[in-house]
Subunit: 208 residues, 2 copies
């Protein structure tokens, strides 16, 4: 398979959601035009994105919604379960423990840790906060695939290194810094402030 | 000014943070190479991004960190205050009321609303939850610039329309659907599940 760009992967996630919506509404086929309209992009872009993975639809007939959703799900690895650990039981960590979109797409949050002794042993939804000082042990015991960093900025890089040291290969980082990681470790940075700053830019410059 | 891409704006936000870090560490000048390394991109990209706004640095001397931060702040509209309202007092809404990165960059959350009568009048940090049934009134009274949607998926488009109806021109949407809005309204979608799905893709396909 060709190397595909981050933006294509993001769009695949969006098509996946649009297809879910169509299936919920009992719609069996969809054209690239319709998918494009649902996601606010061009149909040429939709066809180009899907072409990376071979031909799905038939010209003029559109795509079968269920089959396309299955195939995109396979590509994105959503047709299996992933075990997720959160480090940091602050506001963001708490919100993520029970984040419906995660469980819906197969991301099971099965561990939350903190270094603060006042938070350790606290119950957050279905989880009891574990001591982050024993991170490696907990990560191994829970067979974690993906680690989420929800600690203060100053502790983020260190937390990333502890996660990697414990064998975690994929990290979603909520701290507002870029995490450094060796090749072979996948890091995505989620920074809500960056999205709101784009709005600030558009409000300031009056375009977009 | 030329129309600049969303990805350039995102990178400007990152440079802004890197500059903050440098200034905190009392570093007065920075080269495009150093900025590039901090953000994991090429120095050619850094120079290209900054060239959209004219010449900041002097060849061979690098950029003055404080001046560059000021200028990027002006471009992004971060050197002023923005008044922000959150609709939805669930997990995400609660986490955002007290999100340090927002207040640090001049985004003041001054209103949170919900339709649930059990949540109305509840105290969340410095705010009292207001009744979303009177959204227009609250938005006007608080002179809101930016609205944040943190409601369930089924209510998101409707909430966006109420915000726009109340005069809000910029919306940050946390619901996992694409909000439809007329030209002139700025919408950014924040979907944490999409970032974690990119990790799932890389774990599945073993690249990236």
């Amino acid at each position: 398979m060709k190397k595909i760009s981050d933006s294509t992967i993001r769009r695949l996630s969006k098509y996946y959601r649009s297809l879910e919506q169509l299936i919920e509404n009992s719609i069996d086929t969809v054209s690239s035009d319709q998918l494009a309209e649902m996601d606010g992009i061009t149909s040429a872009q939709v066809r180009k994105d899907l072409s990376f993975f071979g031909t799905f639809g038939k010209r003029g007939l559109g795509y079968n919604t269920k089959a396309l959703k299955e195939q995109i799900g396979d590509i994105l690895g959503l047709n299996r379960k992933w075990r997720v650990a959160i480090v940091g039981a602050g506001n963001i960590g708490r919100a993520l423990v029970n984040y419906a979109e995660f469980s819906k797409q197969g991301f099971n949050v099965c561990l939350i840790m903190d270094t603060d002794s006042e938070k350790v042993d606290e119950q957050i939804h279905h989880l009891t906060v574990k001591d982050a000082a024993k991170m490696k042990e907990h990560i191994k015991a829970e067979k974690i695939d993906i680690g989420i960093i929800a600690v203060p900025t100053w502790a983020a890089q260190n937390t990333a290194e502890e996660l990697m040291d414990a064998g975690v290969k994929a990290i979603l980082n909520f701290a507002p810094i870029s995490i450094k990681a060796p090749k072979g470790i996948h890091v995505k940075n989620e920074n809500t402030a960056i999205e709101i700053e784009a709005l600030s830019y558009y409000l300031t410059n009056g375009s977009g």
